[in-house]
Each structure stands twice: as C-alpha cells, then as structure tokens.
C-alpha cells in the first residue's frame, strides 16, 4: 500500500544574484534551499521538521504542498506525484493537502469576514451549493469558537482566535494531510497550549496526519510521533521524538535540545555552545557542513560529508562520530 506521503531526495533551487554579478564576480547563480531530503509519512501519523531560520524547513513544507516548483527528486502523495502538476490536478491535490501558515492574522485575507474566509474553500472547489452557513457554524464549533465571531474581520481577532480560524479553514474540506508552518509562532505561552490541544484533538477526531514545521522544540514532545532535524537544507537526524529527546546523536541536535532552558533556576543545562552562526547558503562549507560550529569536530569532518545512515534502532544520523547514548 502506498505511504500517505513519500519524498525522495528532494531539491528546491532558487535563483539568486544577477547574471552580471555571476559573470564578473563569479557569484553563484542559485542556492539549494532544500538539498536532497527524503521522508515518508503513514496515514494518521504526525511528523515534525525542526530547524533554525535558513534551514529550509518552510521551503520543504511549501514544496510538499505543491505551492512551489521542484527541481530534482520527487514528492508523491498516495503514490501520485505532487510537484509540477497541471492546474486541475494541483487544485484537486489542494483538497487533500491543507496548509496552516505562520502569521495567525496575516494569513487571513484582510477584507473578508470570518464567515467569508471559512466559506472560501467551498466556493473555490465549486461546493457553494451546500448550506454554507451551516458549514461555517460546524467548523467554528470544531475549533471551539462562538458563532458570533463569524461577522468579525481578521484585524478584530486575537492571535489565538485568528489561529483557530486558520485551522478551521484548513480542515474545511476534510483533507488527509495538514501542514502547519510554525503553528505556535507569535502566540503567548498560555495560548500555545490551547493550539496544541486543538491540533491533537482534531487529529484524533478527523484521523488527520500532520506535518509540523517549527523551531520551538518544547512543543514537539506533545504533538509529534517522529521528528527530523534540518540544517542547511538537509536532515542531520531523524527518528522517534521521545528517543531523540532522550538521546540525541548528532551534535547539532544536542545543541538545539539544550538551547531550550526550562523555567527552573536549578535546572543546570548540560549545554554545548556552538561557535559562530549558520553559514550562508551561498558559501556552503566543505565536508560536513556543520563542522565549522561543531565542538567535536575532527579531521575527517572537514573533508568528507557524512551520509544519513540508519542506526540499529532505525535512527537516522548524518555524522561520522555520532554521540554515544552515554555521552549525553
């Protein structure tokens, strides 16, 4: 049976700089925001992709949702190709894959009322014949919003309310896969809990699979079955969420996990400090691209790029000298 989603060494390339800059100053003509990523998702599963800004996680999400063209590799949803589709096929796909965007208020069309926003999916796919008001009320109920909110406009909603409207719109046509780009970004801590509870509840009730894109590690524990850590357009580690939290094998994973201080003064974090900053995609380091910042760097790391290899327990790591469980 085909997996729900299959991505095979996907590459998304963006043109950059100018032709003149290229010929005279030898500036590169393009950058690979996603440089060879593979993953699979089974129905009902929730996968999280974690990474800092510039890691390419949002580009990956947009490529899977069929919103941007793909240069190499393939994306297949239930066996059928996703990337570079014709208009009609892509439209049908958008009923199956829905996306929730980062800015809760900014992802809602400013001139529309909440009612108009929630009716939009039905109008786009020619289902306006249904009783739209009933659908709107049903969706508002699903995400825990009072019917009275239907007449309000996006700028009259709080961050939490706007996020719920975004979720309601995404699940309007009962998609099989929901991609959430930074679902808790811009929300206060107390509201973040509400959003995570909502996503978990909908996952059970509607049997959704979810792809969560975030840089906030602490929310992953509560929502993602499996997770992958992305750096400069590639996965450096992937596996069971609880396992990775218990024992990260890639130095970058350890750095990310330990960079999330708990609100307890006595929780002495065993933190590894990273040197410098994320290198620019225009000047990708040689060998393992993380070697410039890695505290455990050795000679081999500078020449040879490590492949993403599976360990005995199925954990994927891209490091010549993965951290032993005892080490952390």
């Amino acid at each position: 049976m085909n997996p729900l989603l299959a991505v095979e060494n996907l590459v998304v390339r963006f043109p950059v700089g100018s032709a003149i800059g290229h010929y005279f100053k030898g500036e590169p003509r393009s950058i690979d925001a996603v440089a060879g990523v593979s993953l699979t998702m089974e129905p009902g599963e929730t996968l999280a992709v974690v990474g800092e800004s510039g890691s390419g996680k949002t580009t990956l999400a947009r490529a899977i949702a069929g919103l941007i063209p793909v240069q190499e590799g393939a994306v297949r949803f239930e066996g059928r190709p996703v990337a570079n589709l014709g208009a009609a096929a892509r439209k049908a796909l958008h009923r199956q894959i829905a996306m929730i965007f980062q800015d809760p208020v900014g992802s809602l069309s400013p001139r529309f009322s909440v009612r108009g926003l929630l009716a939009e999916p039905f109008r786009i796919h020619g289902l306006a014949a249904r009783d739209l008001d009933a659908e709107v009320t049903r969706l508002l109920g699903l995400v825990g919003l009072p019917p009275a909110i239907a007449e309000r406009h996006p700028h009259q909603l709080s961050g939490g309310q706007a996020r719920r409207v975004g979720v309601a719109r995404a699940i309007a046509l009962s998609p099989k896969l929901v991609i959430a780009d930074e679902p808790t970004a811009g929300l206060d801590v107390s509201v973040q809990g509400e959003v995570l509870n909502l996503l978990n509840e909908l996952r059970e009730r509607l049997g959704l699979s979810m792809l969560i894109i975030t840089h906030n590690l602490s929310i992953l524990r509560h929502i993602a079955d499996r997770m992958a850590i992305m750096y400069l357009g590639r996965f450096v580690e992937a596996g069971e969420t609880t396992a990775i939290f218990a024992g990260p094998r890639h130095p970058y994973s350890l750095a990310l996990l330990s960079a999330n201080p708990e609100p307890d003064p006595d929780a002495r974090p065993r933190r590894i400090a990273l040197e410098g900053e994320v290198p620019s995609l225009l000047a990708r380091p040689a060998g393992c691209e993380f070697h410039g910042r890695c505290p455990f760097v050795q000679a081999r790391c500078r020449q040879e790029a490590p492949a993403l290899t599976a360990g005995p327990d199925g954990r994927l790591v891209a490091c010549h000298f993965p951290l032993e469980p005892a080490a952390n």
């Binding site: 800092e52 800004s53 709080s158 961050g159 206060d188 801590v189 107390s190 509201v191 973040q192 809990g193 509400e194 995570l196 509870n197 978990n200 509840e201 059970e204 840089h215 906030n216 590690l217 602490s218 929310i219 524990r221 509560h222 609880t242 750095a255 990310l256 330990s258 960079a259 999330n260 201080p261 708990e262 609100p263 307890d264 003064p265 006595d266 929780a267 974090p269 933190r271 400090a273 990273l274 410098g276 900053e277 994320v278």
Partner: protein, 324 residues
C-alpha cells in the same frame, strides 16, 4: 549600601483613549539593586513596554504618569526636566530593543553610530573609535577593525543584536534595560546571547532589567523576577521561590502552561481560559479574578494589596493572607 540602580514605587500610567482613560500600569513597584539582574515577565498586553517607555520617559504623547516615584541611582526621574533626562539616556541608562533588523540606522555605518553615541565624551575621534572597536571585540564580532566601517545590512540578525548590546554597554551605564533582546533570535543564538550578557554584566557590573516572555531564559539569567499581569506586578521576589514555589495563581498557571516544563507527552496541556480584562472599565476586584481557578469571595470585592511574605517581596493575592 549605594542607592538601588532603579527604584520604582506605586507607579501608575494612563493612556487617554476615545473610550476613556486606559489604566495601563497600576501601583507598580520594582527595584533593581546595583549590579543585579532583575527579570520582568509577562504575556502580551501586561504593560511591559509601557513600563520601559515610562522609565526612559519616552511615553507616547497620549500617555501620562499619574502617580508614583522613579529614581535612577537616587536621581528622581519623574521631576527631571526633558533636557536633563535626555542627558541621562545613553549615559547612565541604556537600552536594547527586540528586533535587531530595524534597531540600527540603515544608511550609517555601525562605526559612525558607535562614535555618535559617545558625543558626551570630550575625546579625539580616534580614541572613541578604539573604544568602539574594543567593545565590538568583547561581543565577539569577528575582525572588528574592518567591519567597523560596514553598514547594518551587511551583518546577520545575531550580530546586529550583539552590536546593539555593545553600543548600550559601551557607556558602562548604571542601568541596562534589555527589552526582549533574544525573542527574535533562534534558540542557539538566544542561548549564546544570554551567556554573553551574563559575562558582560560581571565585567561591567551594571544592573540589568531583563524583559521577556520566555520563562526559561529569565530563570537562567536573573537573580530576582517580577511577574506582571494586565498592568500590575502580581508576584515578585528571588527567582527560586517564584519559579519553584509560586504563590500567585497566575504565576502557577503561567509556569504550568510552559510546554518546556511538561516532560511527559500529553494531549491536554494546561491553559488559562478566558481573556485579558478591559483596562478602561477595570473590574472592581482582582484583575485575574475571572480567570483564577482559586477565586473566592474577597477577590471580587476589592483589588488585593501587595503584601510581603516570607520568601516574596510582593504578592498581590488574598490567598494565604490573614482574613482582613
């Protein structure tokens, strides 16, 4: 014992709005001793930014301080005339804001801006330039000599924030206000910036008022913390009692909600139901009453006074107080 770097007592600030006066800050008391790092924690809409603007006396035109005293190392700030206040800023008291991308002037080199803010010092330019480059080294800016004459857009977000910190600490102020300095940064960068702030504070010895809505960062960096809700300081004291044995129900819920604190996977993360109170038509009793799981009779009658307890400097809650 020298005067505290910052002493605020019973400070109230109101905004004139079409719907009537908005009570943004009510009876706020905060103290930052010399050489201490004090945290200010609260969610959006709790009055953190209004407080900072009040301290800097850079409030919006429709805002005014209606009550209270504010002193910077013993100097009264409220009574000061604008010109004297301007002289204080950037000399005895400096600030770093949240968004590094827009904090620096885009058309002036960082060197030019770092020399400009030393305008009070009667020194040759070369000396000011040396001090600026020295400061850039201390905030780990690689190769500061050549990057001195570069423009802000030629630096990454993380570096720009370190440059802003260097500018603020160059004058070795008495009080350094950090207004959510790491919120816009990635986690690994945030942690590195916190480590940098701790090191610089030990070297320079200035007091820091650190504002953030990231509880973990405050717990690691600060000696004492003030928790704010809807314009009031509801609980303040040393970091350990506040974070490990919080008394005020809001602080308890806030800590419970933080996903980083909940270790085992759960589908029902704690939340704080309800919305923020309307600060124009204030509720008669405690502002948190409608959302408080432990609300009881006195809470609706009158706002609880700030009371000192064994471990806390101030607790604005009737719980555990002798029945008044």
């Amino acid at each position: 014992m020298s005067a505290p770097a910052l002493a605020i007592e019973h400070l109230s600030v109101e905004y004139a709005t079409a719907a009537g006066p908005l009570h943004a800050l009510r009876d706020v008391g905060i103290e930052v001793a010399a050489g201490e790092i004090v945290g200010l924690v609260g969610e959006s809409g709790c009055g953190k930014s209004t407080l900072i603007q009040a301290i800097l006396r850079l409030l919006a035109p429709n805002a005014k301080i209606t009550a209270g005293r504010m002193a910077l190392a013993g100097v009264d700030l409220i009574g000061l005339d604008p010109e004297a206040m301007r002289k204080l800023r950037g000399d005895r008291m400096s600030v770093v804001f949240q968004d590094p991308m827009t904090a620096l002037n885009p058309v002036l080199t960082i060197g030019r801006q770092m020399v400009d803010i030393q305008y009070r010092r009667r020194e040759p330019r070369a000396q000011k330039r040396r001090r600026a480059i020295e400061m850039l080294k201390r905030v780990h800016i690689p190769d500061p000599e050549s990057r001195f004459d570069q423009y802000p857009h030629e630096f990454s977000g993380g570096m720009r924030q370190r440059i802003a910190i260097a500018m603020a600490l160059m004058a070795e102020p008495v009080l350094f206000i950090a207004d959510e300095p790491t919120t816009a940064l990635d986690a690994t960068l945030e942690v590195a910036t916190i480590e940098l702030l701790k090191a610089l504070q030990r070297e320079i010895g200035c007091a820091i008022l650190f504002v953030s809505h990231h509880l973990g960062v405050v717990a690691e960096l600060c000696d004492r913390v003030n928790v704010m809700y809807a314009g009031e300081v509801v609980e303040s004291g040393p970091v350990r009692p506040v974070f490990q044995r919080p008394q005020h129900p809001y602080t308890q819920r806030l800590l419970a909600c933080d996903p980083a604190r909940v270790h085992e996977r759960t589908r029902h993360l704690p939340t704080i139901p309800g919305d923020l109170p309307d600060l124009v038509a204030l509720p008669p009793g405690c502002v948190f009453a409608d959302r408080c799981p432990k609300v009881f009779e006195p809470c609706r009658r009158a706002p609880p006074p700030a009371v000192k307890t064994a471990e806390l400097e101030a607790l604005r809650c009737y719980l555990g107080q002798p029945a008044s």
